[in-house]
Structure formats: C-alpha cells, structure tokens
C-alpha cells in the first residue's frame, strides 16, 4: 500500500486534475480527427 501521509489529498488532487485534463485533450483530439476523416471521405465519395 502506498503511504501518502497527511498530504494524500494534495497528491491525489494533483494527479486527478492532471489525468482528467490530459484525458479530455486526448479524447477531443481523437474525436475531432475521426469527424474530419469521416466528413472528408463523405465529400470525396459524393463529389
């Protein structure tokens, strides 16, 4: 078991906030890329 002592909340908040921000950035990046690829493929097929 990892011992964080009296600073447990400080450390967990830091990791939680950072991981949440990075996860949101990665999700937005992948989702936008998939959407752009889909729209371009549709346009090339129809056009």
């Amino acid at each position: 078991m990892i011992e964080l002592g009296k600073y447990a909340a400080t450390v967990l908040w830091s990791y939680g906030v950072s991981v949440a921000l990075l996860a949101a950035l990665i999700w937005q990046t992948v989702a936008a890329n998939a959407r752009a690829r889909r729209e371009l493929e549709r346009q090339e097929r129809n056009g």
């Binding site: 990892i2 002592g5 400080t10 450390v11 830091s14 921000l21 990075l22 890329n33 371009l40």
Partner: protein, 241 residues
C-alpha cells in the same frame, strides 16, 4: 531530398501516418510508466508525499514553454516560406500547450498551498506562466475569429512572435528576479543541488513521456487540420461549379 518537401500535405500525411503508431506507443509507455514510477517513489524528508507532484508539474511546465517555442518556429516558417503545413502545425499545437500550462499552474497551486501556505502568489514565474496561458487562449481565439485561413495564419504568427517574450520570461523569470517564491531549476547540475536518483530517473521518463505525448497529439491534430483544409477546398470547388 529536402526537409521542405514534407511541407507538402500529401507527403506530410504519408510520413506522419507511418510515424504515428510509434509515437502513440512510446507516449503511452513512457507517460504511464513515468507517472506510475513517480507515484511509487518514497516520501521526501522535507516535502513528504508532495514530492510526487514533481513528475506532473515539471514535465508539463517544460512542455508549456517548449510548445510555444515550437509554435514560434512553425510560425516563422509560415511567415517566411509560406508552407501551409507549418501554419497548421502551429495551430494544432496551441491547445496542447494550453493544457500543459494549465496542468503546470494547477499542480503548482495544489502543491503551493501546503508548502508555501498559499494557492497563488504574484511571483515572477507564476505570473509569467499565467500570461503565457492567456497568450495560448488568445492565440486559439484569433485563429477561430479570422475566417480567411492565410490571414489567420499571418495574424497568429505575429501574436506568436510577441508571446515568445513571455515564453522565454517563464523559463528565465527566476533568474531575472530573486524575490519570487518559486525555486530554481528542478534538474540542477550544480554540486550539492542535484536531485536524488530515486526521483531523477522517473522524472526523466515522465519528461520523455510528455514529449512523446505532445508529438503524438501534434501529429493527429495536424492531420485533422490538413483534412479540414482539404474538405473546405472541395466544398468551395463544389459551390463554384
């Protein structure tokens, strides 16, 4: 074979498509590995468990500054040589830099509360980082506000040049002014100031992970921008026909 040939969108898409799987794999292994290793390090005799925050804070702060420098280089290439992929790469990098700056500021504030007794202080480095975040936000807003992509690239390129002063200031603020709370470099090579190997190696791995994560996200986001540009060109051609 010239490096400028990769400014051709078709060649960029081909090369970035080949590099991307390795960048993603490297980013996942090094970032997760560095952060888990860092989280498992022992407590510091002075800072206690808060020392574990360094594995997030230092790589994020390092990338926040270096991403702006990368954007500066890409903007200069656009302004001088008019290569579209470089302008799109600068645009693609900005949200990543903004998130890195936000992580550096957030982890710094969370660490500062128990260590300095305050969440925030108008310290030179903290203040210059806040200004850097505002520059990132302003840069993204300017790209979104200007309809013509070439004009947007020109204007944001100039903004990037101006913002570089603050990116450099963020890096060297602790050297210019000594009255701030923020300490000097975490990875000092000076005798007696060197970080213990117990913390140094996971920090190196985490820094490599954050760099590779930036590279992977940059490639994906630039590919997205290239696709959007191609889509806009096809739609414009269809409208004219």
């Amino acid at each position: 074979m010239s490096i400028w040939e990769y400014a051709n969108p078709v060649k960029f898409m081909r090369l970035s498509g080949a590099v991307l799987p390795y960048a993603v794999a490297g980013a996942a292994i090094c970032t997760i590995g560095g952060l888990v290793w860092g989280f498992l390090t022992p407590q510091d005799y002075k800072q206690g468990a808060t020392v574990k925050i360094v594995f997030l804070h230092v790589p994020a702060a390092m990338m926040a500054i270096n991403i702006w420098v990368m954007m500066l280089a890409a903007s200069l290439i656009w302004l001088i040589r008019r290569h579209h992929v470089s302008a799109l790469a600068a645009r693609a990098a900005a949200p990543i830099g903004a998130v890195m700056t936000l992580i550096a500021l957030a982890t710094g504030a969370i660490w500062g509360q128990p260590m300095w007794g305050t969440w925030w202080e108008w310290d030179p480095r903290l203040t210059s980082f806040l200004i850097l975040l505002l520059f990132y936000i302003g840069y993204m807003a300017l790209w979104a506000a200007v309809e013509d992509p070439d004009s947007a690239a020109d204007l944001t390129g100039v903004l990037c040049l101006v913002g570089s002063v603050f990116a450099l200031l963020s890096r060297y603020a602790v050297l210019f002014w000594n009255q701030g709370l923020h300490q000097g470099a975490s990875l000092s090579v000076a005798p007696g100031e060197r970080m213990s190997a117990v913390y140094r190696y996971p920090l190196y791995l985490s820094m490599l992970g954050f760099f590779l994560l930036f590279l992977a996200l940059l490639l994906i986001r630039t590919r997205t921008e290239v696709r959007r540009r191609r889509l806009a060109a096809l739609q414009a051609r269809e409208t004219r026909a």
